[in-house]
Amino acid sequence: MQHDILDRYSRGSSPLHRLHSKAKVILAVLLLLFTISLHPGQWIACAAVAAILMLAALIARIPVSYLLRRMLIIEPLIVTMALLALFRPDGIALFLMTTAKANVCFFIIIILSNTTPFARLLDVARSWHAPAMLVNIIALMYRYIFVLADETERMQRARSSRTFRSGKRVRWISRSQIIGQTFVRSTERAERIYAAMCARGWK
């Protein structure tokens, strides 16, 4: 299953991958702060940030085709939300700048998540004293996203191979049942995980 589209290139070996993850998080946040503070018309600054990111992508050897594909997935959401800006008096400039800023910010997050494995990001959160309970939930979640995604996909395949009638009503009901079944299996899985954690000395 191809869920690695999320952070396919996060485990590379370029200088950017080897950079300390804390440094990368701080750099990313600084760049984000700089980008969101830009006003309409400051195109050069916006382009400069984009150029830095292009350079980073080149160093990290992240293919342009992959970046473009990720951009295309998110673009409709950005543009739809930016459309609201058109209702303002200075609408068109604001719309263009907001779309550009949102894309640059999106680019920053993509580069961060594709040069830093998710587990390293969690280490950064731990070292900055993020609440242990929340970090543990997120770590467990990251572990089981791929398991549950596979499981629901299997159930959908099984269901569609046994469903001979089609129609919206049938599809809504059967898909809801798959979600319900996934929850039931999740609780059962959570019980097994808890037993396994206790068996290994987790308090």
């Binding site: 979640m141 629901t152 049942q177």
Partner: protein, 312 residues
């Protein structure tokens, strides 16, 4: 409804960040006290479950498709405190892995979809469940709460965009509200169908999780109410000052969308004399009628789909 980075300004980022940090802090405090340690794996797997559930697409009109948001479903299945922690985890992972929603906008997204949506939804769910006994109350309550929480979260989101001066108040709020009153219908139906499916397969999961195992302490409840009230006061109430144009449109949409009540609300939405108070009354009444119509509709649907052979 995920706000990307680049939309919110510094003051909005700071305010939403502070509010959601308060909300998460309260949930963590309450979670340490009231949730047994065996709940931790369930919250982790539960967050992964929300993620997997969001991947399943439901066909809507004309080739488009939508998916579950899940805030109310999680609140109904696991209680409000766990729902805040689960939805927060989902939003954090979506932000860093999908870049769905920005890093700086994380506070706003957590506030809208991780705090306001599950808390408002859970309050409404509990109310309906108390008023209507049995499975009917659970299913109808979950559906109605799903609709309300979607609209509430979208209002908070629109308010944040308007405070950031991206969108003007009198279009942002009505536009977001109108769209999400439709999206909310889908959310309500999926939530009801999923709850029914779980009621059929393992009824004890719903009976035990939300109502018995997780007692809510009065301090926690007061804290949660405070957070939601602050969020609405900061990001939705300024709308009242740009009142006449905007809310009227919501009113007419409400009157239009729920044809069942058109006759009842039309005298108010077509008010003849100018003045703030009459517009306010018209809007409030149209809103109330629309909401009641939605509630009645969810009860009718719930009655059609609840499992018959299993009585509580």
């Amino acid at each position: 409804m995920h706000v990307p980075d680049g939309f919110l300004d510094a003051k909005t980022i700071a305010a939403t960040g502070a509010l959601s940090a308060m909300g998460i802090g309260m949930a963590l405090r309450s979670g340490r006290k009231s949730l047994p340690p065996s709940r931790l794996p369930l919250m982790g797997v539960g967050a992964a479950f929300v993620f997997a559930a969001q991947m399943i697409n439901f066909p809507v009109i004309g080739g488009t498709s939508g998916h579950l948001i899940g805030a109310v479903l999680v609140a109904v299945l696991m209680g409000p405190t766990a729902a805040i922690l689960v939805m927060t985890s989902v939003l954090i992972v979506q932000c860093f892995l999908f870049a769905d929603g920005g890093i700086l906008a994380l506070g706003a997204n957590i506030l809208n979809m991780g705090i306001v949506a599950p808390l408002a939804g859970y309050a409404i769910f509990t109310g309906v469940k108390k008023a209507i006994p049995g499975n009917l109350g659970i299913v109808a309550g979950a559906g109605f709460a799903g609709w309300c929480s979607t609209v509430a979260a979208s209002l908070a989101c629109a308010g944040e965009l308007a405070v950031s001066e991206i969108a003007p108040w009198n279009t942002a709020i009505p536009a977001m509200a109108n769209i999400h009153m439709l999206i909310g219908v889908g959310e309500a139906i999926i939530t009801m169908l999923v709850v029914v499916a779980i009621l059929r397969a393992r009824p004890e999961l719903i009976m035990s999780n939300a109502s018995v195992n997780v007692p809510q302490r009065p301090v926690t409840i007061a804290g949660y109410i405070l957070i939601v009230a602050l969020a609405l006061a900061l990001f939705v109430s300024p709308f009242a000052s740009v009142w006449p144009d905007g809310l009227e449109r919501v009113a007419s949409t409400l009157g239009f969308e729920h044809r069942a009540v058109t006759s009842a609300s039309s005298p108010f939405s077509e008010y003849q004399f100018p003045g703030l108070s009459s517009a306010l009354a018209a809007t409030a009444l149209a809103g109330v009628f629309g909401t009641i119509a939605t509630l009645l509709l969810t009860i009718v649907i719930a009655r059609l789909i609840i499992p018959r052979n299993r009585k509580k």
